[in-house]
Each structure stands twice: as structure tokens, then as C-alpha cells.
């Protein structure tokens, strides 16, 4: 028999586990308890101990709830009639708004950096005395980007803005130069012509200050008005005279 081979000490751990787990002792342990009085006494003591622990725990865990608890909570609820919402949605909204604003600033900054300040427009206005700047509803930029004449608010410093906004300006050119400028713009779009070429100075024809010729006013011939009262008189009046 295995029970004869085990000493009582070996059963102690097993009987404690059986008591703590509130499980039925194994048949081997039960037969040992039937045969061993000291182990039976130890088992009874363990059972009493665990029962005492459970009783103490139940007493603690099921203590009477004070009658004042729920009225206290209700009174506090009345003070806060509407549950204050968690800050998490507000924080999330603020964070989202911040991300959106940052994204807009970044994208606008990127667009303004990639679109040059349209040097062709500025230089051409310098080179062409007959150029005239006037507002236009829509302008096609040399890079094929259509810009609408909407008011744009930029977060960038104003010093980087061109003196004449390209999207608000159109350039009138002499009729004979239109084809050449069209070809230049096409070259710019395709990348065949670098924008830097527009800024290079021609050593043969250095840039000069614009010269405005004085206005020439041709002399006006002044004639006194003729007395037309006699000529404009009606034939009836003439006959009466």
C-alpha cells in the first residue's frame, strides 16, 4: 500500500491543500486519516483555521453598508447636475485641430517655397517699357498652375512676398513679342529653359534705369466761334425780315 510507504509529514501538505481548496480529500489521504489519529487532528485544526479565515473574510466583505452612503452620493450628484464630460474628447479635438493647422501651415509653406516669386513677370516688367500691370480674374502661371484671384492669407512673413502678386497681375506685351514669350514659357514648363536665365544680365545690353520721355503736346489751333445766329435762323424768319 502506498499509504504505508508515506510518512505523516508527507500528508500534511496534501491535507492543507485539500482544506484550502475546499476539495474532497483523495482516497489515499482519506484512508490515511482513518488510520492516523495525529493526522486526523491536524486535518481538523486546518479545517478550523480555514473556516475561521473564511468567517473573518466574510464578516469583512459583507459588512453593513452605512445608510448615509447613497444619500451622500445623491447629494453630490445634485451638485453636479450634468455629468462633466471627460476631457479626453476635448483633448482629442484640440489635438486634431492643432494637427490640421500645422498641416495647413506646412503645406502652404511648401507650396510657397516650390512656386517661385515669378521672376519672369518682374524682370519682364523691367525690360518692357510698354508693360502695364492690371488686375486679372485668372492667371496661368508659367508652371501650369492655375491660381484663382481669391484672397490668400499667408502665415509667412510679408518680406518674402513679391512686390507684385503674380496671381493678381497680368502682363501686356507688344504684339510682336507674344510668340517669343510663349516659346519661353513653354520652355520653362518643359524644363528646357532654366529660370535662372531670366535673371542673368546681358553684358552687351546692361540693365538701365527706365527712362520716361517727357510728354509731347502738339499745339492746338484756336479758332473763334462764328456768329451762326443768322445762319441758323429759319426761312420763315428770313422772309419776314
Amino acid at each position: 500500500m502506498p499509504s504505508k510507504m508515506k510518512s505523516c509529514e508527507n500528508y500534511l501538505a496534501e491535507l492543507t491543500d485539500a482544506v484550502v481548496a475546499a476539495a474532497e480529500p483523495s482516497s489515499e489521504l482519506r484512508s490515511h486519516l482513518d488510520a492516523c489519529a495525529s493526522c486526523r487532528a491536524a486535518f481538523t485544526e486546518e479545517l478550523q483555521l480555514v473556516t475561521a479565515i473564511d468567517t473573518g473574510l466574510r464578516a469583512e466583505a459583507n459588512s453593513e453598508v452605512p445608510a448615509s452612503l447613497l444619500p451622500r452620493v445623491r447629494a453630490e450628484l445634485n451638485d453636479r447636475s450634468v455629468p462633466s464630460r471627460s476631457w479626453m474628447p476635448a483633448r482629442a479635438a484640440i489635438a486634431t485641430a492643432a494637427v490640421v493647422v500645422a498641416a495647413i501651415v506646412f503645406v502652404r509653406g511648401f507650396v510657397l517655397d516650390t512656386v517661385p516669386t515669378n521672376p519672369s513677370v518682374n524682370t519682364s516688367t523691367h525690360n518692357m517699357p510698354s508693360a502695364e500691370i492690371r488686375p486679372a480674374p485668372t492667371v496661368v502661371s508659367p508652371f501650369g498652375m492655375t491660381t484663382l484671384p481669391t484672397k490668400r492669407r499667408s502665415f509667412r512673413p510679408t518680406k518674402t512676398e513679391p512686390s507684385v502678386k503674380a496671381e493678381h497681375a497680368a502682363v501686356l506685351i507688344p504684339a510682336g513679342q507674344k510668340q517669343a514669350i510663349d516659346a519661353l514659357l513653354a520652355g520653362l514648363r518643359e524644363g528646357a529653359v532654366k529660370t535662372g536665365v531670366l535673371l542673368t544680365t546681358n553684358p552687351e545690353q546692361p540693365l538701365r534705369d527706365l527712362q520716361v520721355l517727357p510728354l509731347e503736346v502738339s499745339p492746338i489751333e484756336m479758332k473763334p466761334l462764328e456768329d451762326v445766329s443768322a445762319e441758323s435762323a429759319s426761312p420763315n424768319e428770313k422772309t419776314r425780315r
Binding site: 475561521a52 479565515i53 473574510l57 469583512e60 464630460r85
Partner: protein
């Protein structure tokens, strides 16, 4: 260009009315849950603190926190689980930070012993040792022990409340009781 916003006062009033209605419904629902779960919060706190006044404060705080989050805790099971955890955590925090332990222990000897059929449990000395042994248990074992000791809580319910598998609850309960038994063995009469 200046943007114009059309303001419709009627719609605002409707919205406010709807909000008030929703808040009232929320409050009613919470009150129902309060009657059901308020004692649970108190008992969890009491099991940790073993002091009625402190436990009441903690339960109240836990319930108010639950109210603030009630829109997200409307599910009954979730609400109970959340409340148990927050009450237990608040009670543990209070027990650790509170310096009223000595006062409580002196008050304990003056309070009337609870009626008990068991001789061991009836002695305040044994109860003090039990309290101390409970304090030394790991938090996760302690909570399982408390919830399992509460009337009407099956192990399935404890597992559901704590979001734990049944096996985990059983093993925690077993080790907690065994630990208590080992610590209290020398104090039995």
C-alpha cells in the same frame, strides 16, 4: 469676403432640450446602478481599509468617478468591473497613504466584536492578525479573496468582474487562502 452664419434659435433650443433629456435619462440610469453597485464599492473599500468612515469616503469617490464616465460604462458588467477595480485601487491608495492606521487599531479594540459562531473568528486578536495577513497579500490575490467572500458572488461572477479566466481566479483564490493559513497557523488558539 465676410462669411455669414445663419443662426437658428429654434434649433439651439431643441438641442438644449434634447441634451437635458439625455442628461436626465443618464442620471436615472446611474441611480439604478447606484443602488445596485454602491454597496459593492463600499464593501470592497471596507475589505481593504477595515474602517467604515474611510470606506464610505472611498466608495463615494469611486461612485462619482463612475458617474463622470458613465456614458462609457453603461454596460452593466463593465460598470461593475470598473467600479470594483477603482474602489479597490482608491482604497489601497488611501490605506497606504493614510496615517490613521494606529488610530483605527486602537478603535478596533473598543468596538463591539461581531457575533460569530466560530470561536477563532470571534476573537479580535485573531481578526487583527487576519487583517495584517490580508495587508501582506498581493493586491491581485486580495481582491479575488474579497470578492469571493462577498455574499452572492460566484466564482464565475468574480471572473467576469475582473475580466479573468476562471482558472486564474481559482488559482489566485487558492494561493491567497493558503498564504493566509500559513501566516495565521501560529496564531490559532
Amino acid at each position: 469676403m465676410q462669411e455669414l452664419v445663419l443662426i437658428q434659435p429654434g434649433r439651439t433650443a431643441e438641442k438644449e432640450f434634447a441634451q437635458e433629456g439625455a442628461a436626465a435619462a443618464l442620471r436615472r440610469e446611474f441611480e439604478e446602478r447606484l443602488a445596485e453597485c454602491g454597496p459593492l464599492a463600499y464593501r470592497v473599500a471596507r475589505g481593504v481599509l477595515r474602517n467604515s468612515a474611510d470606506a464610505e469616503d472611498v466608495a463615494q469617490e469611486a461612485l462619482m468617478r463612475a458617474y463622470r464616465r458613465f456614458e462609457r460604462l453603461r454596460d452593466r458588467t463593465r460598470f461593475r468591473a470598473w467600479l470594483v477595480r477603482i474602489a479597490f485601487r482608491l482604497a489601497i491608495d488611501r490605506a497606504r497613504s493614510s496615517k490613521r492606521r494606529e488610530v483605527r487599531e486602537t478603535l478596533w479594540s473598543q468596538s463591539a466584536p461581531r457575533p460569530s459562531t466560530e470561536d477563532l473568528a470571534a476573537t479580535s486578536e485573531f481578526q487583527k492578525h487576519l487583517d495584517r495577513a490580508m495587508d501582506e497579500l498581493p493586491d491581485k490575490h486580495r481582491l479575488v479573496l474579497l470578492l469571493a467572500a462577498m455574499q452572492g458572488h460566484s466564482l464565475e461572477e468574480v471572473a467576469e468582474m475582473l475580466g479573468l479566466p476562471m482558472g486564474t481566479v481559482k488559482s489566485r483564490l487558492f494561493f491567497a487562502r493558503k498564504q493566509l493559513a500559513e501566516k495565521l497557523r501560529c496564531h490559532r488558539r
